[in-house]
Amino acid sequence: MTTAPYNPRTPLVDESIADSQPEFLQNFGQLFNAFNLNHVSLSDPTNPGNHNVIQLTELNQGRETFLNEVSIYSKKVSDQTDQIFMRYPNNGKEFQLTQYQIYSIPLITSGESPNIITLQESYFSFLPGGIIVYFGRVNPNSNPFNIVLNPAICTNITGVNVCPIGTSTNTNRLFQPNVNVTGNDKFFTDVILSGSFSFINPSNQYYVIFGNI
């Protein structure tokens, strides 16, 4: 396929089709090649024009929207990379749809094989708008016990909830968890769980933590 540039000004008024043949070929070839990106090929007999992937190149600022339009685009996020954004009609509110790169968090363990104990099983995801959700389970081996926030990208913890794993049998309200937070000068790294772990055996806890990125 030709690689010559697309020329929107061909053919000229005084040119015959024979004179313009190279330009026609260039233009038809360029349209074909450009359309092949992100789309099913123009020459596909069944689904020409549908998308196979959508590559959103980085914008410097949110895309303008008019009435009855929404816009989806990618924009660089500080200390990260290009993330997906959405903007409502009439240059309305913009919010971030993706927040971070989701990946599997290794288990936090103690002890040596074959006596390895899992202290924390961690997962995370995000909600639109810059919210990160940490969740999983811990098996505290100390009091207090640190729930590690991984990745440590949370700048403000907005909610912490824990729940013992087991069967509630005690009517004396012995489980009185306290939570505290710690971190470096920019991000929270841990939620500190303290209190009575003894009313349920084992003292495993499920946790879910919400925060701002």
Partner: protein, 192 residues
């Protein structure tokens, strides 16, 4: 139907057949462009009206300043479905792979009593309210694994605990202090 042909005109000098070929190409381009886009000669030409994504069997390569949306088939514990994915440029340390992220799941429940939605990464979220003191929650669609289950008394500290069943789609909420009049809110996350 006549397909778009990027290799015309050929066979010059031109005759009527060449003109027809050129017209066919312009016509085909306009027709194909109408799929998913505002048509040519429309004041909004070039903008998307919808985006129909053909299923991809391999993940896209992201090697520049752009994000890539695509759809792919996902086999969950409960179904096989077509889901939307996004792949963003690598920015994590190299020990973490730059995996695509699944953004959607093919099921939600807005009726209850066991409400259900999803979050990015292939996680299913369930939530609801029950009355104490003992309740077994059955999750649908069935997750592969329950990775988090939380329950609390709505109005009082009721020493609530949860225990996940070995089948991984049920868990039991107990509260030694709750009565049948005490509502307990619960929340659960499972892997698809």
């Amino acid at each position: 139907m006549t397909l778009y042909n990027p290799n015309i005109p050929q066979d010059l000098p031109p005759g009527t057949v060449i003109v027809d070929e050129i017209r066919a190409n312009f016509s085909q381009y306009a027709m194909v462009f109408d799929n998913n886009h505002e048509p040519l000669n429309n004041s909004n030409q070039g903008k998307h009206t919808n985006v129909l994504l053909q299923q991809q069997s391999t993940e896209p390569v992201v090697n520049g300043s752009f994000d890539a949306f695509y759809s792919a088939e996902v086999t969950s514990n409960s179904s096989v479905s077509e889901e939307l994915f996004v792949k963003i440029p690598q920015f994590l340390p190299p020990q973490f792979p730059n995996d695509p992220m699944q953004l959607t799941f093919n099921s939600v429940n807005t009726v209850g009593p066991n409400y259900q939605s999803f979050i990015a990464g292939g996680y299913i979220v369930f939530f609801g309210t029950v009355l104490g003191p003992t309740n077994t929650i059955t999750l649908s669609p069935k997750p592969k694994k329950i990775v988090c289950a939380i329950a609390n008394g709505n109005f009082f500290a009721l020493d609530v605990a949860v225990l996940v069943n070995a089948n991984n789609f049920q868990f039991t909420i107990t509260s030694a202090l709750a009565t049948g009049a005490n509502p307990l809110s619960w929340f659960c996350i499972g892997t698809q």
